[in-house]
């Protein structure tokens, strides 16, 4: 079910003003911004949801909420500079103002997954939309069976949230595996694609929920590998991306087959979209 917050329900087209409270450079082209409302408190959100961030005079883009649970007064967003709007947002300094609409969209099924093993599989920047889900699972660790976080990216220097991954790995009650596509012999971790990590962690395939986020091709390969490992398609969730405008299911910009990614997604069940993922021109 899509969640509309109180603010968005009042007028989902009107951006609320937020100020940048903290900036952290993650990678050469990725920053994490902590933003706080100029007035009042921020609406609540669920792991997996996104906001529309508006860089004044430039444009508005969908960016997932990437907070790690310590962001009770504002939102945390991790933005990669790929074009005009994301570059403007990634360049904001502390104190700068931006517009925010949201949160919008469906959530990771962290409550429904209670009692099951949980596999969290991220590729590249896909770790950002999963971070709120990871934080939730770790804060409620006793409610889940085995927990594994599998992360893949291109090079060792592209590892997002490096320190946090290391801290998670230091816990004795979850498995964390990191792999890179390309490395030289100075890297001592795994080399290979993220689906290859699946057989390296233990889980009960018939009682596992998998949350997957990353580039679409990576998600397709990963979902297929999960299925090969015995995880049912209706237990696999992917976070989809399509260009967005209204973010509330009106304009059709984000159409994905019969669904709209902004309101039926971004988090979608694999069995419901599997066929669409291999169709051309969608």
């Amino acid at each position: 079910m899509p969640l509309l917050t109180a603010a968005a329900q009042i007028d989902p087209f009107v951006p609320q003003l937020y100020k940048v409270a903290h900036v952290r450079r993650e990678l050469s082209d990725v920053v994490t911004l902590e933003i706080k409302p100029s007035q009042g408190s921020r609406p609540s959100y669920a792991p997996g949801q996104f906001n529309m961030l508006y860089a004044f005079g430039i444009g508005e883009i969908a960016i997932s909420i990437s907070g790690d649970g310590t962001d009770s007064t504002g939102f945390v967003h991790t933005v990669r500079d790929v074009g005009a709007v994301s570059r403007a947002i990634a360049a904001l300094d502390i104190g700068a103002t931006l517009g925010v609409r949201g949160p919008f969209g469906t959530e990771w099924p962290v409550t429904a997954a209670e009692g099951s093993d949980i596999l969290i599989i991220a590729g590249g920047l896909g770790l950002a939309p999963l971070r709120p889900a990871i934080t939730h699972v770790l804060a409620n660790r006793a409610r889940y069976g085995r927990v594994a976080i599998l992360f893949g990216c291109r090079h060792p220097e592209d590892i997002l949230f490096h320190d946090q991954l290391a801290a998670w790995r230091g816990r004795l009650d979850i498995a964390v595996e990191v792999t890179v596509d390309h490395a030289d012999s100075n890297w001592h971790g795994h080399v290979g694609v993220v689906p290859a990590l699946i057989p390296r962690v233990s889980f009960s395939p018939h009682d596992t929920v998998a949350l997957v986020c990353g580039p679409e091709i990576m998600m397709r390969f990963t979902a297929n590998a999960l299925r090969d490992a015995g995880v049912a398609s209706n237990q696999i969730y992917l976070s989809m991306e399509r260009n967005m405008k209204c973010a509330i299911g009106l304009c059709g910009h984000c159409q994905f087959g019969p669904t709209f990614v902004c309101k039926d997604g971004p988090v979608m069940r694999f069995d419901r979209i599997e066929r669409l993922l291999t169709l051309r021109e969608i």
């Binding site: 790929v82 590729g123 590249g124 920047l125 990216c153 291109r154 592209d158 792999t179 596509d181 390309h182 490395a183 030289d184 012999s185 100075n186 890297w187 001592h188 971790g189 795994h190 080399v191 290979g192 694609v193 689906p195 290859a196 057989p199 390296r200 990353g214 580039p215 091709i217 990576m218 390969f221």
Partner: protein, 152 residues
């Protein structure tokens, strides 16, 4: 030999393999230990043994001039290292280096090829076990070279 048979039976590569075939393969097997940095094999050398990893991590590498070797993939517990022993000219096409302490079982390639020729049931069983691994690795390599994490 009984010890090696037991190790092979426990290894993921031989999951649900008939006992008589495990006994045949065990006749070609021996234990290995590789210290970190030690090479299991080098590119161009005869592929006269392949390895089932019991513990540790192995990097498959291509040496490159004036830079550190490029790692193609890493393999770990329950996986096999080496396919070049299957096809002529039986020469390794990459280096394989122990990243950490590695314990492995080596299978003598000439010995196993001979047994597979003599017993086609065994040969077919081996092919059925190798082919899915090779296909999976080919698919993984495709994903790896797509550079999916780059900007579109």
């Amino acid at each position: 030999m009984a010890g090696l048979e037991h190790i092979l039976r426990e290894h993921a590569f031989f999951a649900a393999c008939p006992e008589d075939q495990i006994a045949l393969v065990a006749g070609c097997a021996r234990n290995h230990r590789f210290d970190p940095g030690q090479y299991l094999f080098r590119e161009g050398d005869p592929a006269n043994e392949f390895f089932l990893i019991r513990h540790g991590k192995v990097a498959l590498e291509i040496a490159a001039p004036a830079q550190s070797p490029i790692v193609i993939s890493t393999l770990g517990e329950g996986e096999i290292v080496g396919a070049s022993w299957l096809l002529p000219p039986y020469r390794w096409t990459s280096d394989a280096r122990a990243v950490e302490l590695v314990r492995a079982v080596g299978i003598d390639a000439a010995c196993l090829r001979g047994k597979c020729e003599a017993d086609h049931h065994l040969g077919y069983e081996m092919m059925k076990r190798f082919a899915p691994i090779l296909v999976k690795r080919l698919n993984a390599t495709r994903l790896q070279i797509l550079n999916v994490y780059g900007k579109r």
